[in-house]
C-alpha cells in the first residue's frame, strides 16, 4: 500500500466525516448551550486567569511518552520480518533470528528512559 495512497485515504476519511457533521448535523445553539459545562452549576470565575505552569509541563511530558508508545505499534507489527536475517526470505538457508529489531527498539526506549530519569529527578511529573 504506497504511503501516499494511505495518507490520501486518511485525509479523505477524516475530511468526509467532518464535512458530513458540518453540513448534515443539526445546528441549534442557544446562549445556555454555549456556556462552559460546570457540572450543572452556573460557571464561576473565568478561565482566563493565570494558572501554574505545571499543567503545561505535565501535558508536554505526556505527549512525549504517548508518541513513544505510538511509535511502538508499527515496530510491533513488523517485528517478525525485522528479526529475520534476510527479511524477504529469498535465500536457501532458513532465516536465523537476528536481534536487529529488538536492539533498535531498545535503543529508542533507552534514550527516553534517560529522559524519564531526568524528569523524575527534577520532580516535573509530580505535583509537589
Amino acid at each position: 500500500m504506497p504511503a501516499g495512497l494511505a495518507i490520501a485515504f486518511a485525509i479523505g476519511f477524516c475530511g468526509l466525516f467532518t464535512a458530513l457533521a458540518v453540513f448534515i448535523g443539526p445546528k441549534r445553539t442557544n446562549p445556555e448551550k454555549l456556556k462552559p459545562f460546570e457540572c450543572g452549576s452556573e460557571p464561576i470565575g473565568s478561565p482566563r486567569g493565570r494558572y501554574s505552569v505545571r499543567f503545561y509541563q505535565v501535558a508536554i511530558l505526556f505527549l512525549v511518552f504517548d508518541i513513544e508508545a505510538a511509535f511502538m505499534y508499527p515496530w510491533a507489527v513488523l517485528y517478525n520480518q525485522l528479526s529475520k536475517t534476510d527479511p524477504d526470505g529469498a535465500g536457501p538457508l532458513p532465516a536465523q533470528i537476528s536481534m536487529f529489531g529488538f536492539a533498535e527498539m531498545l535503543l529508542f526506549v533507552g534514550i527516553l528512559v534517560v529522559a524519564l530519569a531526568y524528569v523524575w529527578r527534577k520532580k516535573a511529573i509530580g505535583w509537589e
Binding site: 478561565p47 486567569g49 501554574s52 505535583w127
Partner: protein, 417 residues
C-alpha cells in the same frame, strides 16, 4: 529618548532592564474557583463543592449539600407511624433495612414494649440488617474502587449485591425499598429454604471478597491513591461527631451494637475492627473487615434462630389475624382504626439509635398520643461526615477528592434527609 524607551517597551512588551530584580520573581498564579457541582459522578449527584484551587491543590472548599432534601421530617408529620417506614427506606437507600429497624425501635421505645418483642422477630431483624449492611459496604467499596479506575471489583461486588438483593426480595418483596419491619416485629416470616440459600450466598460472597482483596489490597495504584489521603485524628473524629467506619478507622472504638447493645446483639459474638491512621485506606480495610464480621453474625443467627411468632400480639400495635378481621366486627374495626388512624403512641419524646451502614443512625421522635408523630428528626451519620469533608479535602489535590468522597460514603437521601 523617553518615548523611544517607551516605544521599545510598547513593542517588545518587556519591562525595562532596571525593573528586573536579579531573579525574576515568579508571580503567584491566581487562585481559580471551580465548581465540582451537583451533577458529578464522584459527588453521588447531590453535593456541590465550590473549590478554590491553586493549580491542582485545594486551597478552600465550600461544600453545599441539600440537593436531595426531600423533607423527611415534614412528610413524617403528615403520615402515621406505619406509613413512615417507606420514607425511612429511602433515607440510607444503600442499607434500607437498618433504617426500618431504627424507626421501629424508636416507636417501640416510646410505647415501652421493647422488651416483649418475640425473639424470632428480633433475630429476623438482625439477619436482614446485617444483610443490608453487607450490601452497603459492597456498594461503597465497589463504587469507590470504580471511581479510582478499578472496574473489575465494582462488577464483582455488584454481582454479590445482586445475590443479596434477590434474597432480600424473597424476604420482603422488594429489591431495595423493603418496608419490611413493623412496630412490634416484622411483617412476614422468613420464607422456607431461606437459610440454605443465605449460607450458600455467604460462602460465594466470601470467595469474591478474597478475589477483590487480592486485586486491591496490595495494588500500587490503589494504595497510592488511598493511603495517607483524607486522614483524620481520633480527637477530630469525636469532636465532629463522626461515627461508624470513619470513626473506627481513626481508632475510636465506638459501635452502637457493642456500646449500647440493642436487640439480640449481646447473644452473637463479633468483633469491631478499629483502624489506626484514619485515612481512606483504613476506612476501606475497616469496611471489608466489617463485612466479614457481618457474615459471621449471619451464620450464628441462622443457627440460633428460634421458632415462634414474628409479631408481638399486643393489640395496640399489631394487626389482628386475618381470619378474625373477616369474621368478627371488633377485629374489623380494630384493623380499620389501626390502618387509618395509626398506632396510638403515648405522648413523650425519646432518641433511639442503631448501628447503621455509616454509623449511629438515630431517630428523635416527639409523640403526642395520636397516630402521627409530632416531630421525627433523623440523626443521619452522612450529614455529620459531610461536614468534615471540607476539612479533609483541604491541602489535597483535586483528584484526591474522589477517594475521600468515596470512602465517606455520603448517601444523598440520608445526608439531606
Amino acid at each position: 529618548m523617553a518615548d523611544a524607551q517607551s516605544l521599545r517597551q510598547l513593542v517588545l512588551g518587556r519591562k525595562d532592564v532596571q525593573d528586573l530584580s536579579d531573579t525574576e520573581q515568579d508571580l503567584p498564579p491566581d487562585l481559580m474557583t471551580v465548581n465540582m457541582g451537583p451533577s458529578h459522578p464522584a459527588m453521588h449527584g447531590t453535593v456541590r463543592i465550590v473549590l478554590t484551587v491553586d493549580g491542582e491543590k485545594v486551597v478552600k472548599s465550600d461544600v453545599q449539600p441539600g440537593y436531595l432534601h426531600r423533607c423527611f421530617e415534614k412528610e413524617s408529620e403528615h403520615a402515621t407511624y406505619t406509613q413512615i417506614f417507606p420514607y425511612t427506606d429511602r433515607l440510607n437507600y444503600v442499607s434500607p433495612m437498618i433504617n426500618n429497624v431504627g424507626w421501629a425501635m424508636v416507636a417501640e421505645k416510646l410505647m415501652s414494649i421493647g422488651k416483649d418483642i418475640p425473639k424470632r422477630a428480633e433475630y429476623i431483624r438482625v439477619i436482614v440488617s446485617e444483610m443490608s449492611r453487607i450490601t452497603d459496604h459492597l456498594t461503597c467499596v465497589g463504587a469507590s474502587a470504580m471511581e479510582l479506575g478499578a472496574f473489575g471489583p465494582f462488577l464483582f461486588f455488584l454481582k454479590c449485591r445482586e445475590w443479596l438483593y434477590e434474597l432480600l426480595e424473597i424476604v420482603s418483596g422488594a429489591r431495595l425499598t423493603h418496608t419490611y419491619v413493623r412496630v412490634g416485629g416484622v411483617s412476614k416470616d422468613l420464607p422456607a429454604g431461606f437459610d440454605e440459600r443465605l449460607t450458600h450466598t455467604l460462602d460465594e460472597i466470601e470467595k469474591v471478597m478474597v478475589e477483590v482483596e487480592g486485586l486491591l489490597n496490595n495494588n500500587k495504584i490503589f494504595r497510592d491513591r488511598m493511603a495517607g489521603i483524607g486522614a483524620m485524628t481520633r480527637e477530630e473524629a469525636i469532636a465532629t461527631g463522626c461515627v461508624g467506619p470513619i470513626a473506627r478507622a481513626c481508632g475510636v472504638d465506638y459501635d452502637v451494637r457493642k456500646d449500647y447493645p440493642y436487640s439480640i446483639y449481646p447473644e452473637v459474638e463479633f468483633d469491631v475492627p478499629v483502624g489506626t491512621t484514619g485515612d481512606c485506606l483504613d476506612r476501606y480495610l475497616v469496611r471489608l473487615e466489617e463485612m466479614r464480621q457481618s457474615i459471621r453474625i449471619l451464620r450464628q443467627c441462622l443457627k440460633q434462630i428460634p421458632d415462634g411468632p414474628v409479631m408481638i400480639d399486643d393489640p395496640r400495635c399489631a394487626l389482628p389475624p386475618k381470619v378474625d378481621t373477616y369474621n368478627t366486627i371488633e377485629s374489623m374495626i380494630r384493623h380499620f382504626k389501626h390502618i387509618v388512624d395509626g398506632i396510638k403512641v403515648p405522648a413523650g419524646e425519646t432518641y433511639a439509635f442503631v448501628e447503621g451502614g455509616n454509623g449511629e443512625l438515630g431517630f428523635f421522635v416527639v409523640a403526642d398520643g395520636t397516630g402521627r408523630p409530632y416531630k421525627a428528626y433523623c440523626r443521619s451519620p452522612s450529614f455529620v461526615h459531610l461536614s468534615t469533608a471540607s476539612q479533609l479535602i483541604h491541602g489535597h489535590l483535586i483528584a484526591d477528592i474522589v477517594p475521600i468522597f468515596g470512602m465517606i460514603n455520603m448517601i444523598g437521601g440520608e445526608c439531606d434527609k
